[in-house]
């Protein structure tokens, strides 16, 4: 069917008012609105219907376009975010240019925010009247197409990034995986076992890490950070800064002889990978299964970097390979990709922010991540649970919700702490036979096999005390408390305050956004929710999309989640990226701005205004020019142009003034 461009004859508008079940109809008199619309100029048809977005609802529009020769359509229903696309498609199928459409939001902007039906109905009428005036001015527009570059950038090499990268690479897409640390693996690489199955974390993770390294379709850059992102969906230009590790990845064979040969015979530097519970040398690999298995030299502690007077035994040990290059410099890589997956992860809550639990004051108060390293066979104590004072604990208290569900710090539930606390309780008991107390507010075990794991722990005689711990202290009231850490808590099931002496306290610290999440957000031009996690486009129906096309989310950067959910999300993000790549192109919105060259005076006011660097200056004709592929339709330049020389599709002055007059005209 050929598309009607609306140029033939008089304007004939169809107005459709939606009940949205009771969402709108309970507060807005939908019949009255529809009747009122019928009285407005140029309106040929006005109807109300229970659900305009349903198939029969859309059919009404399609049928009326044919039967009543409609050439403009107004739908008064919900937010354009939700259904503008639906109705534009209905117009298109009905044979009308989809931009002869205007949507009025009488749900979020009328029924949901008002209680008085008379006033809400009047507001709905006003909004419909404005839309009818506006839509008459609409012109036919065409969508553009942008080709999608088939390569994908994955930022962050934890389990989310690893899984997304492998999924894409296995499907034949080329992936650039950029990781800030010296190895991929993320937080999962630090865990001993995983809940609820107690699989060894390394046994299930390290094969995937090696697969990343070996995959011909994956370019892996560790010790590297994205520093600049330009472009738009389909063709992002990304700059990556690869920090020097002073050991050449291509030349190094991973024999680690250099570490052995370091002039530091004993490891002396606090080991970050082991949460500073162990020591490393200035030249080190974070852990034995690191990928890539290439050492890093830390210039902060290496004698050669500090004084220039080292014997450089590491260089000698490397010998003929010449992999160690102490003069290495940072390298800038520029790549082009069509889509991006952000899997930048989380940071754990800083336990010092809850001073009542004594972290940093009492040496035997630990965070959960520290205890993960203590129970790990390749950790600083080879899996023996010994405390900072060298003793094995006889009683351990695990405090839940530290930096979670707390008005003073982070309000959200971190989702994984109940389960990892159970896991640590099991592991500590297995390693030491200690008596274990869990202090919880609510036990949250909503995953597959989680509740069963909780039941198992109950049968292992781990104690559960319901109550938020008031403090961890070393003041002693009874002889049994001497030399112990005392956990003071209101046992809300027993109904009294308890003082429980223990040797070791484990703080189940929550998950929070990275300290630099805002910088990453700005760089990729996406949004964050209030608490600082990256915001998905829709919490239910677009959980891995962002508001920026072509940029997807996976893992804890979007919010706290466990490994199964992270992997599922990473797979979904990879699938979304593939859907774009395999389609080959995306359609762009036509709401871009363009310069009317005959009016442009060449003053350049608009150029620095554009947040997307879409405007350039044409020296030959001395006029500004807008690249429509880069323009996002924000309208800043339109407002800024002193000559009024910039027009924006769908936001033409005529259209806006008609709408304003429509609102202001008394009914």
């Amino acid at each position: 069917m050929s598309e009607n461009n609306g140029s033939n004859g008089a304007v004939r508008i169809g107005v459709y008012t939606c009940h949205c079940g009771a969402n709108i109809a309970a507060t807005v008199d939908v019949k009255a609105v529809a009747e009122y619309a019928r009285s407005l100029p140029n309106v040929a048809v006005s109807r109300e219907y229970k659900y305009m977005c349903s198939d029969p609802g859309q059919d009404l529009i399609r049928q009326d376009i044919r039967d009543h020769q409609l050439n403009r359509v107004v739908v008064a229903s919900c937010s354009p975010h939700l259904h503008e696309h639906t109705f534009r498609t209905a117009l298109k199928v009905g044979g009308l240019n989809p931009f002869f459409f205007h949507m009025v939001n009488i749900r979020e902007q009328a029924s949901w925010v008002h209680e008085n039906k008379i006033h809400a109905t009047r507001k709905a009428k006003d909004l419909v009247r404005a839309a009818v005036r506006r839509v008459a001015r609409h012109e036919a527009l065409e969508r553009g197409r942008v080709a999608i570059h088939p390569d994908v950038l994955v930022v962050g090499g934890g389990i989310a990034g690893i899984h997304a990268a492998l999924t894409l690479a296995n499907a034949g897409k080329h992936v650039f995986l950029v990781e800030r640390e010296a190895t991929i693996g993320g937080h999962m690489a630090k865990f001993d076992k995983t809940f609820p199955t107690l699989d060894c974390a390394a046994c299930i993770l390290t094969p995937k890490m090696s697969a990343v390294r070996a995959h011909p379709n994956i370019t892996l850059w560790t010790y590297a950070e994205v520093t600049q992102v330009d472009g738009f969906v389909g063709s992002y230009k990304v700059t990556v800064n690869r920090r020097p590790r002073y050991v050449d990845e291509d030349l190094c064979a991973g024999c680690l002889d250099c570490i052995e040969a370091c002039v530091y015979k004993q490891a002396k530097v606090p080991d970050e990978f082991n949460m500073n519970l162990g020591k490393r040398k200035p030249i080190y690999v974070p852990f034995p299964q690191a990928v890539p298995l290439v050492p890093v030299i830390d210039p902060e502690t290496c004698i050669q970097f500090k004084s220039g007077k080292c014997k450089k035994t590491c260089v000698d040990a490397c010998g003929e390979r010449h992999a160690i290059n102490l003069r290495a410099e940072a390298k800038q890589e520029t790549i082009e990709v069509g889509t991006v997956i952000l899997s930048t992860g989380f940071q754990t809550f800083d336990a010092a922010r809850t001073p009542e639990y004594g972290y940093g004051v009492h040496p035997n108060v630990y965070t959960a991540l520290e205890v993960e390293r203590l129970v790990n066979a390749s950790g600083p104590t080879n899996g023996e649970v010994v405390m900072r004072d060298g003793k094995t604990p006889g009683a351990v208290g695990i405090i839940h919700c530290v930096g979670s569900r707390d008005e003073r710090t982070n309000r959200w539930c971190s989702r994984v702490c109940c389960m990892y606390s159970l896991k640590l309780a099991h592991l500590i008991k297995e390693h030491t036979g200690a008596e274990i107390f869990n202090f919880y507010i609510d036990m949250r075990t909503p995953g597959k096999g989680f509740e069963e794991f909780y039941q198992k722990l109950l049968s292992e005689r781990v104690h559960f005390v319901r109550g938020r711990v008031a403090e961890v202290t070393d003041w002693a009231l009874q002889p049994s408390e001497e030399g112990k850490l005392v956990i003071q808590v209101e046992d809300t099931l027993a109904g009294f305050v308890r003082r429980i002496p223990v040797d070791m306290v484990v703080l189940a610290t929550g998950l929070e956004p990275h300290a630099d999440a805002q910088e990453v957000r700005r760089m990729f031009n996406i949004t964050c929710a209030r608490e600082g996690f990256f915001l998905e486009r829709h919490p239910k129906l677009a959980p891995v999309n962002t508001f920026t096309d072509g940029i997807f989310l996976a893992g804890c950067c979007q919010g706290p989640k466990d490994i199964p959910d992270t992997v599922a999300q990473a797979g979904a993000a990879a699938a979304e990226a593939m859907a774009l790549i395999d389609a080959g192109y995306v359609e762009t919105e036509p709401n871009t701005a363009h310069v009317m060259e005959e009016v442009c005076a060449g003053c350049k006011t608009c150029i620095p205004m554009c947040p997307y660097h879409a405007i350039s200056f044409m020296l030959d004709i001395h006029k500004s020019h807008i690249n429509e592929a880069l323009c996002k339709g924000c309208g800043t330049c339109v407002a800024a142009c002193p000559a009024g020389a910039i027009k924006q599709n769908l936001f033409d002055d005529d259209e806006i003034f008609e709408e304003i007059e429509g609102i202001l005209t008394n009914a």
Partner: protein, 300 residues
């Protein structure tokens, strides 16, 4: 300089006379003028607040309004209970329109202005912020010859308003005493409750709370506790003989006001600091603050 408004409250004229004496002496030594609020009334604290909240807010608000009327910018409330109830009243009037409306109506009936612009201050915070640790250090004329002390802040001045010091681990008193050379111990109960009015209403429970504080101070090696609140001082001071009779803890330690300790270091005599009014730990007090020590250590 503008004088600080001074709200003594009932305690400083009764069980806490030593606090008032030492406070006035210390402020005089530091050239900080105080001007007592004229016609002040009960602050409305503790029992009043729990029995008749509305009257308590009105009582408190009257004091704030008087201060505002007297163009007093900073109102000094040395008693922790007074400090807290005055701050709480300001906060509730601002945050809860219903309370604010009733309070303003009562004030209007008494021809008093609304209670804007008055800052309620505790002397600990004034000494720390307005005077500063360094200026105190520079004014020391007498070396501390007493024992190790535990700084006890009590529950009211740091919670919920963290304006005097941090809620969970206040350290400003420790820093001020450090400046005069008095050794302090780590005292984990520094913000625990002293028992408050429970020593009167539920005596065994109140005394047990005093006992916990005293026992832990002994355990940490302190020979005295230094307080910022007349009720804390009174509770800890008054029941030590009872505790001695009931437990195996042979406690007999002085309970001092921080203003007494600082005043002594800055050269005041024991009399003007109210040091003779103490009940417990007299033998230490006589040793630490004797005429001989006073002369021997003066002007080091």
């Amino acid at each position: 300089m503008n004088p600080y408004g001074y709200f003594p409250g009932c305690s400083l004229r009764a069980t806490g006379v030593a606090y008032e004496e030492s406070l006035l002496t210390l402020f005089r030594l530091l050239d900080l003028p105080l001007e007592e609020l004229r016609d002040w009334n009960c602050c409305g604290a503790t029992s009043y607040m729990s029995i008749d909240e509305e009257s308590a807010f009105q009582l408190s608000a009257r004091n704030l309004a008087l201060a505002h009327k007297a163009e007093c910018r900073d109102l000094l409330a040395p008693c922790s209970a007074c400090y807290l109830v005055l701050r709480k009243t300001q906060d509730y009037v601002e945050r809860y329109p219903a309370i604010g409306k009733r309070v303003k109506e009562s004030l209007a009936a008494a021809n008093l202005p609304v209670l804007d612009g008055v800052r309620v201050r505790h002397p600990l915070e004034v000494l720390y912020t307005d005077v500063g640790v360094e200026r105190i250090r520079s004014r020391v004329v007498r070396k501390w010859s007493g024992g190790r002390v535990a700084c006890y802040y009590g529950c009211q001045i740091v919670r919920p308003f963290e304006e005097v010091d941090r809620a969970h681990n206040p350290t400003r008193m420790d820093e001020l005493l450090g400046a005069i050379g008095a050794p302090t111990v780590e005292y984990p109960l520094k913000t625990a409750c002293c028992g408050g009015a429970l020593t009167g209403t539920m005596h065994p429970i109140g005394v047990r709370m005093n006992y916990i504080l005293l026992k832990e101070a002994v355990r940490k090696g302190a020979q005295a506790i230094v307080t910022v609140c007349p009720l804390c001082q009174y509770n800890l001071d008054a029941y030590q003989s009872e505790i001695r009779g009931k437990t195996s803890t042979p406690v007999d330690m002085p309970i001092l006001y921080f203003t007494q300790v600082l005043g002594w270091a800055l050269g005041a005599d024991a009399e003007s600091l109210g040091l003779k009014r103490a009940i417990s730990g007299r033998k230490f007090l006589e040793q630490w603050f004797s005429k001989e020590t006073q002369e021997a250590e003066a002007y080091v």
